[in-house]
Amino acid sequence: MKNRYDVIVVGAGPAGSITAKTAASGGLSVLLIEKRQEIGDPVRCAEGVGKDALIKHIEPDKKWIAAEVKGSMILAPDGTEIKMSEDASSKKIGYVLERKVFDRALAQKAAMAGAEVMVKTRATGLLRNNGKVTGINAMYMGETQEIKADIVIGADGVESKVGRWGGIDTSLKPGDIETCAQFLVSNIDAGEYSKFFLGEKYTPGGYVWIFPKGENTANVGLGILGSKSGNVRAISLLQRFIDNYMPHAKILEIVVGGVPVSGPIKQTITDGLMLVGDAARQSDPLTGGGITNAMDAGKMAGEVCIRAKENGDYSVRTLKEYEDKWRASIGRELSKSLLVKNLLIKLTDEQLNQLAHSLNGIDVSGMELSSLLLVLFKKNPKLLWELRTLFNPRI
């Protein structure tokens, strides 16, 4: 480890590793640090990801693909099924990953591009000069030291401290976080679809997911919107779901976590600092999915690091390109999802059933979520009036 780099990336999840890889590929000296001693572990993720969005960044490898899924099945509280995104040729459209292997593979890509990787290395604060971020205080194996850099990237996930140290308020209110629990279970037939169970009868302000992982295993989990959790614990509701709906399931692993569902936050840059991924609250407020958004943001941030180096300017003047780019792409989608999420959490189980029933006789199997919402809106304009801005104003 040197004591100075062009870029220090804090956190070796998908956002951090892609940032590091991109910047290192552009010839920058990059340090990627991970506070844990193993990259990718413990997992805090349902591990589902869209194929198209993923392969923009990395060639699929069977080492980290646990299973492929044909599409999604949404289940209303009364059991009515809505099957989506099944291509006519039954083309597989999504993966369920093995994050422990996937995250390490991404970090390896960063390393192969020239980034230095250090595990068991924790950022404990930021260095500053004239108000600008100029590096980090780090602790490696109990030893502290200062490491300087022109740009620090906060890729430190839901518990991000880097942004706060930099003066960016990333704190999540209870209504901005899904508190989640998941079991990796065996001895079940998980099928070939990702399943989403909606309704207060399962969990308040969230959903239950079942993501097949192959060989009679699946990730079964649920999230509760923090503002609706009361005294209920995600792990207790999940245990109840397992007991009620898959009593023969055997639990192989417990995963817990928090998913930011705030939608775009006000600020993700300051002089010498950028936030990416969950640290920038870039996970989707509706689905909770964040892997490919994180990778997209990481690529944008890495490219802006290269530009900043070329210009010799690491202030918000240059870094604003990252802020503008992610808001125009990821940010726009997050805002739409937030609108839908905020409406869905207000609907009763009866209203959710009504929405599902309104699709009777309509083939939605080839539809993406946006198209499905449009159909639902047309069929239930009164119920979904708040979503009107998502669609063409003539509708």
């Binding site: 839901v158 518990e159 401290k161 209870p174 901005d176 817990v256 928090g258």
Partner: protein, 57 residues
């Protein structure tokens, strides 16, 4: 004022750290550290997926 963390229950997910309004918590590998800026507001305990946190008044 502070928070007690049941280390035998904690799943070290960091959700509590993300919601702490004053940044008093930190996840270090597999344990949560609470510093003296904690106001015992209880948001962390409310959000914990496994109920590992208890506010001490």
């Amino acid at each position: 004022m502070s928070v007690d963390v049941n280390r035998y229950k904690c799943g070290y997910c960091g959700a509590c750290v993300g919601v702490c309004p004053v940044g008093a918590l930190e996840l270090v590998e597999t344990w949560i550290e609470v510093d003296n800026t904690c106001t015992s507001c209880g948001v962390c305990a409310k959000i914990c997926p496994v109920g590992a946190l208890v506010v001490v008044k």
